[in-house]
Symmetry: D2
Subunit: 346 residues, 4 copies
């Protein structure tokens, strides 16, 4: 269950404070020009926001270990490796034998009887850089089909971000909450995918919207996902919600896009639209009740460290990456991208 | 993409006005006592609500064609068949060559170049009876582990349904809208799953909440899905959202359940909670713009027939069924249900 | 594990003496003209050989329950059903609580704690008619790409069948053994697949030869499989085995085909060649040692009934069907068959 | 198609002369004690045989990048990396634009339009060290269930190896052929798996023998695979082939093992037996016809370098590894190995 996709299939590995994070992409067509910089351009988007992120700046070294020759993909598995620079850090030592509220030590321990004690291990947000790396490859292929991803912040701490000004104000609210109480905040991301032709996706369990909603739901901290008008659709009548059909530019098309780009799970050729709810950062420098699982003693846990005040902005590129993995898979499945070769190869 | 699940794997087939709807369940453990009535008890929940549904009453004949002997499962694939009684009906004849707003003829045609012209074919809500049938088997096994599903209506036409009285009022709103204007309405379902032990689900792409959110998103008409506090979580601070840990009944447990029963994608042992947004019924007896795809003429489409005024209530049992398919798979994957045998066999 | 294929995916179900045998084909492209007679033409090949088979003639009624409209495939799952006419037969009653040598009651019982007591249940050769049905669809699509399957008998009872005369003599040997001692015999099938273009199959675990060898190995009674020169290849030197390259008809091609049509798991454009070893029919009217598993008493089992003297000829069409399922999947995976649409639709 | 297994799932990557070869194992239960030396002990078996192999000695450095903490598996993906020391070698430069007979450049080029020009790339036998690494983990778990693998050489250059003396003589035959003519030879491996309990494997497409035959067929150079008596079974009568049942040690068991440890695709509790035909080493220092694909000129190719005289011995540990990957998967699938935890974890 660390693989995603059926044809363009990405398997990720790595713990936050292990040796490395990485992914293996199986099923990438041959002949794609691929440079380390293509990966780096996506990874750089994970560098925390100056205002709401941690002050640390994680520059990630990237290696492509297989699947390319002279910067062209071979059709064989592409292993991308991002070594963890400071993986022997002792920052988290004090937290051994303790479950942090909002974190996954408790449930990992329940399932596996063991968990990586440093920095969340596999449950860390750092896992997402493998998704960004795989997404970089998918997005490069999709961009050749004029498919593009736009993510933006819709809400922070409950405040709508409809303009640069309102977004700035919402950021300041988050900052103020953090400075005054140490508390963290969450937010909502909107994701628009442009350029997807009609006819992508399939009936029943392969609905394009469902696959993307699943993809987005797998991102740590995501608690809700909407397509099109989402929850608001449930409050409209059929006549106001239904997208009627007409002829535009000599083609039959829906005249509005309340459905968010899909009908019956298959794309309409319009923009695909989604919204994603992100919970507040779980790590906060505020005392919280916890239990030492070895001694079974309850105690008040005070986390020290540098935490994101709000990690919503960091979810945005990961949402794009996950959606790109769904799309490339479904476009190959629909016969719109050749599964074997891209462009001219000798 | 008409299969769901990895181990307990259900493949569905059938068009609304074809010969039959059905499913094949592969991976059901041997030794389960299974009767036709187990399936019928779930299918009967699809009979439309008297108030909001269509007046027609679809009694579904059920056949189990394989996988059992003397009402015990054999461990081999179970094929369940529900013949379509009136499948040669001509009710839909007038709609040939036309895309109904809110329906999938347009996108099926774009993808496949062909579509079943009667009653939505594979995109019909009737497809869900195959899910109910498969869910009936999954739920029977899960009930032996004391896992139960509770779905209820949270909203209809934008009105909260917090009590029987408020639900009744909301139903009357839907009915009034339908009678006065012919228009349809939507709603929100809440789903609670009780009895799931801690330790079910897995990291990254196998998060239990993500798998269930995917499962729910595949149901026709679902436009949004939440886990736990969902979108509201994005408006809370970390200290108010995080579920602290304490000792209850000598066991370490989270003291609240804002997360909706999962941490890091693995169950906490608490109730799993979800909410599902359902769009208004697409079929309405109100003129809507459409286009005849053969002549490319725009025209005003007036649908005749008997439609659900609001199909939200019909989504509830399907949501339970889909969640049950995820849970049985994940409990087998976690080693909590034997993949081969259930109970004593001869 | 009752599904075969990744894209063109066939799920089979049904016990020998249950209600029906059948399959669901998911992933068949839309627009294929498909008639019941296409299926019947393959199923008729399972009617036992007059000389070596049982005298019974199993005429199989075929139903297509879904996935087609006006004899065109819709791109949705195709359920094909073959009812078992005489499924309530009591012929096998005496064998309850007994493991037949060469049959699977023993191992099914060990795994599942239960088994279908009549006619082998899921382990019966009758299961193969679902493979023939699915293969009929695959072969129809492949024939449009000029890909054809030829199976023939290479050996019967250890005698080579290099001509019609020698095959006739070998058949008579089998018949004589059966008449004189009641004993059964086995044989070897050769399978040639013509018209597969170069470039089908993939490295490592997706080798075309390995996938076909797997497909053939899943047929009941198959004990060995070879590709190209097979075991004989192990006795040659590199210089005599290697297929050298030259130019034929202005194209670079291998000059010989010792490899059986693949190099590194990918097709060369030459004929694909395989050989399949089939064990002797396990059911024989000769006393054999067995045990009643309820009483744990050893006894001498004498089977009565009409058995194939040699079921090798019945394996041949199933071998073609299984190979066709691999090929269609791999040709779609290689971008050589459109996964969505075939030919002109609407 | 670079992944193997459904539950204990191994994905391999890496070209012969790329940066590294490796694998990611997803689905390994938590709590297994795992050391680098466990992997090294299998990899050392790939060091070529002094007599028949190349003189070079490839010492492989091994890194475990994820999935373990303090030498215990975490239940998360285990990435094992084996860097290619001399990967910038120019040994193969002369062979650019040329297809070597018996190698895969031709077919890779046909499929992907591109291929790694050095040392076979992904088609190199070096790919197998990733299989050995994954197999090392599987075998360690299986050994705790008392399941062991024994591979031995059955034939070399057509000479049976029934004793140490006859094996030695056969080796000398291979050596003599190589020294006198430069030619290479092939052979046959037998594989015995001991300790597998009855009840592993499943009907139809999940037959244990078929899965293992597939696994063995994926190894480069394998041209034939047998289970039990294999091709010889086709030459016996039913009464001489069938394994009769009796009572041994108070348990019902087959009295002989002609079937090679399976009935109906499910294990009998006896030894699983297989035979594998390996073609002669394709690289030979003897002139062979080839074509330069850029100039389309035919020429006589003379390979220089140090080649295995016979690589049959190197297939043996890989055969064990592949069979171990099938077995661990099927034992988890049968509920005989816990998919989540092994042994005591804290």
């Amino acid at each position: 269950m660390n693989s995603f996709g059926r044809i363009f299939r990405c398997t990720t590995f790595g713990e936050s404070h292990g040796e490395a994070i990485g992914c293996v992409i199986d099923g990438c067509p041959a002949g794609l020009e691929l440079h380390i910089s293509d990966i780096e351009n996506e990874l750089v988007r994970d560098i925390p926001d100056k205002l709401l992120g941690t002050p640390r700046k994680e520059l990630n070294e990237v290696k492509i270990l297989s699947g390319i020759f002279n910067n062209k993909t071979l059709g064989t598995p592409i292993c991308i490796l991002i070594p963890n620079g400071n993986h022997k850090s002792n920052d988290y030592k004090l937290m051994e034998n303790c479950y942090r509220p909002g974190h996954a030590e408790y449930t990992y321990h329940e399932r596996y009887g063991i968990y990586h004690p440093y920095g969340g291990g596999r449950a860390s947000g750092r896992e997402c850089i493998a998704r960004l790396a795989a997404g970089a490859v998918a997005k490069k292929i999709l961009s050749q089909k004029n498919i593009y991803f736009e993510s933006k912040i819709d809400e922070l701490a409950g405040e709508r971000c409809v303009s640069h000004i309102s977004e700035k104000l919402a950021q300041e609210t988050c900052l103020r909450i953090s400075e005054e109480t140490g508390d963290s905040t969450g937010g909502i991301i909107s994701l628009i995918i442009k350029g997807v032709p009609a006819g992508v996706g399939s009936p029943v369990f392969g609905k394009l919207n469902a696959l993307i909603m699943y993809a987005l739901s797998t991102i740590g901290g995501v608690k809700g996902v909407e397509n099109g008008l989402g929850f608001d659709a449930s409050r409209l009548t059929g006549s106001s919600y239904n997208d009627e059909f007409g002829i535009i530019d000599d083609e039959i098309q829906p005249l509005t896009n309340n459905a968010g780009g899909v009908l019956g799970g298959i794309s309409t050729g319009q923009n695909l639209t989604f919204r994603i709810a992100v919970k507040p950062t779980p790590s906060i420098p505020i005392p919280q009740k916890s239990v030492n699982w070895q001694t079974k003693e309850e105690f008040s846990l005070e986390l020290n460290g540098r935490f994101d005040k709000n990690f919503t902005p960091r979810v945005a590129p990961v949402a794009e990456a996950m959606a790109s993995l769904v799309l490339i898979d479904e476009m190959i499945a629909a016969g719109m991208i050749n599964p074997t070769r891209i462009g001219e190869v000798n």
